[in-house]
Symmetry: none
DNA sequence: CATGAATGAGGGTTCATTCAT
DNA sequence: TATGAATGAACCCTCATTCAT
């Protein structure tokens, strides 16, 4: 087996067991047994347990970052609100199509060690900042009502995380139409955000 | 020291170290050292590590349950929407006034073991169900727009969890007016939920 | 068993196996098996393998330091040369009466890790410096011939170390009269080998 | 690269890393990385780690053996004492000109395994026996005073080992005139330290 | 009630050696 | 000859739990 394949295989198996048992309950034995590989082999491809874990999540971090497009103004581009919605849609779709890694991120990522906690916080903060920029743009253009963009960006993120998490835990959701879920989330968020003379205080 | 006091003291110290380091990184030594108590003494009051952890969270589960009031109809009661809002307000206030336990719940509760994961899921599902009932009531009364109440209840829970979590992580938030945060969350949620001829699709 | 006894027991067994197999070939299992104690027990008394090793040698370092008396001048004291000889005699006697630890020091002390190598060098250098002082005093008083005191102090130390080491390796030496050995070493150092009529430059 | 060259290259690199880190702290990786050679290649030239180590020292053993000349009597030869001195001089010069291997021998040779410890002891004992023969000859010829030749031969070896070791550890010695060191050692051994007027019995 | 010494299973990691290519 | 991926025994250390005092 060529090196890249073996590494991918180990990474894949690590991903699965990590998301089943969490970081601390997962042992190297779990990973290598699932991979049918000797103990030492694991350490040919990864420095240590912590590093595989980080690799698994780094992949997701990158993918999430990639599917969020900075909002583009001007003709030829969709409306900023639609672009924001598309970003939300992409992220949800990405998360739901990677159930194991997403579960890992949402349930087992904190508590690995202080450094990784910090890394996680930074990741979420970066996402929140990008969201805030979009919100501020929307407000400036009169498309969104005024609000505390910082808080609201966490509201949006929380909405996405929780809905996705519930889909992953709940077998009855699996296979349900993603678009339906996304629309519901978007409606929840957007009807609260769109400027309107008839909102309430 | 009388039995109940000692147990409370251990529980309190356990709460603090658990929330600082998470379940797996916390050792019995951490708890007994902080408590100035011998190793064996710990096991006089708790069956095992897992049980203290559960006790800590059970307290929070109970408190959260207690501050959610079932919506009452009829004269002499506030409007159902205000009652819903009050519930949200109470929960947020409770969580923010128990930062350590809340951090424990939000960041370190999953991954202890499969049974406890299940218990957590059930707790969240029960909350979601109570929320759903309220939402269905609001819709039936024409106060809220039609929506997938299951999804929306997770949206609301996610909003609360994430905003609270961000407050706990972010020092700049600490001391900020809780009401301000609560209002922002309520506005985010309610303007999206109130029936309105002028909402967007 | 009281704490001090258990620690002494472990230290004693560690001393023996270390001197038999050297630091790297000795495993914690060797020490605990010899002690009839569980693995964890070892770590109740010592931080790690390295620390026991260091404890064993620290004891010897201290004893060696203690049996070297700074040379005293004036009436009521033996002649400086006799004091120097007494120091040599004491050290040799000490080393021969602690064969295991001495073997450990002479054969297995280097190579544990860079920090310990440095500590060892410092120990030997301190000894050499004390020897040098004595030599310089002897020269100043006209009792000893002029020489490079630094080199000569290592000559003396080497003489002692090698003779002691050979005694420890060689079963036929065991039990031989220590005084005989000491005298031979002292004669070697003080008179040299050349027959007096034929002294050279 | 021809076989002999490759083997020499590996041996040379092994020598360097062994003397830097000692036997146990040196890994095969250290040797092959330094040599730019694959892991398997190492085992084409040496049976195992232990064997390389032995090869490195065997070379030194041979060189040491070679530079000690059996004392020749009769006209046309230098005086036996000068021949003995020349042997000492040659050995010291050899050791100081091979600092790495010498360090390896003096600090890291014991403790590899019981068999090698035995081999080392035999090597030193053989040297001691050759020294003893010379000493006995010198005594028989009235050139040297009577003494316990066994002990004295270890005194001489210890003197040489320790002085050489101190030169290798101590940077200030490096580059110092070898002859100066050798003379000091020879003087120590032949004349001792006591000023001639006050020789003792 | 309280203590804390003792336990030992279990986890992460290293590394000399092998062998198919 | 040369390679380097694979192996797996062995090692150090941790820590939840027990129990004699």
């Amino acid at each position: 087996m060529i090196k890249a394949e073996r590494k991918a295989q180990l990474l894949e198996n690590a991903r699965v067991v990590f998301s089943n048992k969490g970081y601390h309950k997962t042992s190297i034995s779990d990973i290598i047994n699932k991979s049918g590989v000797a103990r030492g082999t694991f350490y040919l491809y990864f420095e240590n347990k912590r590093q595989v874990f980080e690799s698994v999540l780094d992949e997701l971090f990158r993918d999430i970052g990639d599917c969020i497009k900075t909002i583009q103004l001007g003709k030829g581009h969709a409306s900023p609100i639609d672009q924001l919605r598309n970003n939300v849609r992409s992220v949800i779709a990405l998360l739901l199509s990677n159930p194991e890694t997403t579960d890992l991120l949402l349930k087992h990522a904190f508590g690995v060690d202080p450094e990784f906690d910090e890394k996680l916080n930074q990741f979420y903060n970066r996402l929140a900042e990008r969201l805030e920029s979009s919100l501020q743009l929307g407000i400036a253009m009169g498309l969104l009502r005024k609000c505390d963009t910082q808080i609201v960006s966490f509201c949006i993120m929380g909405t996405i995380k929780e809905v996705v998490a519930s889909c992953l835990s709940d077998v009855q959701y699996r296979g349900k139409d993603i678009d339906l879920i996304v629309d519901e989330v978007l409606n929840f968020g957007s009807r609260g955000l769109i400027t309107s003379e008839y909102g309430n205080t």
